[in-house]
């Protein structure tokens, strides 16, 4: 016990001394880890905010139920209530005949007097039925449409099947590309960081050799190095979070104009506390893993 404490003291002291006595090497490791995490973090932020964007698009994914003409208002209310309880439905909105006409005119073009000649509004009222996010798939859509099909008061259903499939494919594509790039980025980062630490260890191989000649066991040599890696990694993680925060604050206002259009009212979000902890922890893990790998791999070379 006492000996373990003595050893721990030695390890901590040696690790700190190592950090102090090779500032360039340490700085390089910290910067490399930091930069790598900034890349990963920036990319993660982008992806997450794009997910938000996709969800937003998903909100305009709805089933339109055209209502039969000439039904009493009470019937329609009852219908809305029934529809709202159908499994998979998130929200129901009533679009009146009048509103339908306005939309149509807005869609065709401003001054269009297209339907003006008609004595009666030919467009029917309808229900806009939004699906729950988890139901936004071709399958979920089919289920909802089937549940609605028999209901009295509904003359016709339009689910924009094409648009839905296109949307779903686009989401899948963005997710896949994002995932692919994330994997490449993560692997690249891991490779770069372990390589950098391997070089840092290489620069100090004399030290390692001498320690083993004096009778130090592998563990005795390795622990301070690994601790150094841990500290450097954590420092890199903290630096990355600060830099990302700075970038986020700096860059955001410039994009707000375009952002508003794409994200609508959604404010782009930064990392949560847990995610920040994960980033710093990831840095520490990288440093730890990197130096451990460098020591086992590069012990001799």
């Amino acid at each position: 016990m006492r000996r373990a404490l003595v050893q721990l003291g030695y390890f901590v002291r040696t690790a700190l001394r190592g950090l102090r006595s090779s500032p360039v090497t340490s700085a390089v490791s910290v910067v490399t880890i930091g930069v790598s995490l900034v890349l990963v973090g920036a990319f993660a932020l982008l992806l997450w905010n794009m997910e938000g964007l996709l969800d937003r698009f998903g909100d305009s994914l709805y089933v339109t139920a055209y209502l039969e003409e000439g039904r009493p208002v009470e019937d329609r209310r009852a219908l809305v209530e029934i529809v709202a309880t159908v499994e998979g439905v998130e929200r129901v909105r009533v679009v009146s005949k009048r509103e339908a006409l306005e939309r149509f005119q807005a869609g065709v073009g401003r001054g269009s007097a297209l339907l003006e000649g008609l004595d009666e509004n030919p467009l029917p009222a309808s229900l806009e039925i939004t699906l729950l996010p988890e139901r936004r798939s071709a399958e979920g859509l089919r289920v909802v449409v089937e549940s609605l099909e028999g209901l009295p008061g509904i003359s016709d259903l339009a689910s924009g099947q094409d648009w839905v499939e296109g949307y779903l494919r686009a989401v899948a594509l963005v997710r896949a590309v994002g995932l692919g790039l994330s994997v490449i980025l993560a692997l690249a980062t891991l490779l770069i960081v372990t390589n950098t630490i391997r070089l840092a260890v290489l620069a100090r191989r004399d030290e390692i050799e001498i320690l083993t000649l004096v009778g130090a066991s592998r563990t005795f040599v390795a622990i301070p190095f690994v601790m150094e890696g841990l500290v450097q990694g954590a420092a890199g993680g903290v630096a990355a979070v600060l830099l990302l925060l700075g970038l986020f604050r700096l860059v955001l206002p410039g994009f707000e104009f375009g952002m508003e259009f794409l994200l609508g009212g959604v404010t782009p979000r930064f990392f949560s506390v847990g995610e920040i902890a994960a980033l710093v922890g990831g840095g520490a893990g990288l440093g730890l893993f990197g130096s451990a790998a460098a020591l086992t791999g590069g012990w001799k070379a």
């Binding site: 006492r2 000996r3 003595v6 050893q7 003291g9 030695y10 001394r17 006595s21 090779s22 004399d206 030290e207 050799e209 001498i210 320690l211 083993t212 000649l213 004096v214 009778g215 130090a216 066991s217 592998r218 005795f220």
Partner: protein, 223 residues
């Protein structure tokens, strides 16, 4: 202390079919011209190199068969003064000497006291916080000697321990090494300085081109 040893390095023989036996507490000089194989022999004893052939028994263990975990344990019982010192450039003199105590887990307070005493004996206490690169050659050599001796090893291997020292210091340090031998440490000193060798009247092993030329026992010794 060790039995048979036979070794060659990288194609050409550095040592050919050497057999030696050292007794516990013995003091042996290893001499021979440059390239004779003195350093190679010490490296074998220290298991810094493996013999190409033959067996070596050190402190009761056949080091040829030693696993990688056992080698550090053995090394902690042996003090070595390397021909090229092998000091850590980024640690102070004090920290360098403390190393051989730290690897056996000596508490910091004890370490500091022992290191200070040792440095004082070698006239280096004022260089305590210097780094090896800012020391003269002789001072570096003394740091290496301090590191080898501070842990009171059972075996002391010294490769040209006085090559960079002036005659006065040489005498002093040989005295220190000899006194370690009287405390029961087996000492092997590799050197060319024939004066030195002849002055002490100890066992002398002469090497040349990897062979034992002759093995003169200490004058007062019956063997």
């Amino acid at each position: 202390m060790y039995h048979v040893s036979k070794a060659y390095a990288a194609g050409s023989f550095a040592l050919r079919d050497i057999s030696l036996e050292l007794r516990r507490g013995e003091f042996v000089f290893l001499t021979g011209p440059s390239g004779a194989g003195k350093t190679s022999l010490l490296k074998l004893l220290f298991s810094a190199e493996e013999p190409t052939e033959g067996q070596i028994v050190v402190l009761g263990r056949n080091i040829v068969r030693l696993g990688p975990a056992a080698i550090p344990r053995l090394r902690r019982r042996i003090g070595v003064v390397f021909q090229d010192f092998k000091l850590l450039p980024r640690r102070t003199v004090e920290e360098n000497v403390a190393l051989s105590l730290e690897v056996v887990g000596t508490p910091p307070r004890v370490t500091r006291a022992k290191v200070f005493a040792m440095l004082k004996q070698l006239g280096l206490q004022h260089r305590r916080y210097h780094h090896p690169l800012s020391l003269s050659g002789g001072e570096q050599q003394r740091v290496a000697i301090a590191r080898a001796l501070v842990n009171e090893p059972e075996i002391l291997l010294a490769d040209e321990p006085t090559g960079n020292l002036d005659p006065d210091l040489t005498l002093e340090i040989m005295g220190l090494i000899a006194s370690a031998a009287t405390r029961g440490t087996t000492v092997v000193v590799a050197t060319h300085e024939l004066d030195l060798v002849s002055r002490y009247g100890k066992r002398i092993v002469r090497l040349d081109a990897g062979c034992v030329l002759d093995d003169t026992p200490a004058p007062g010794d019956g063997a």
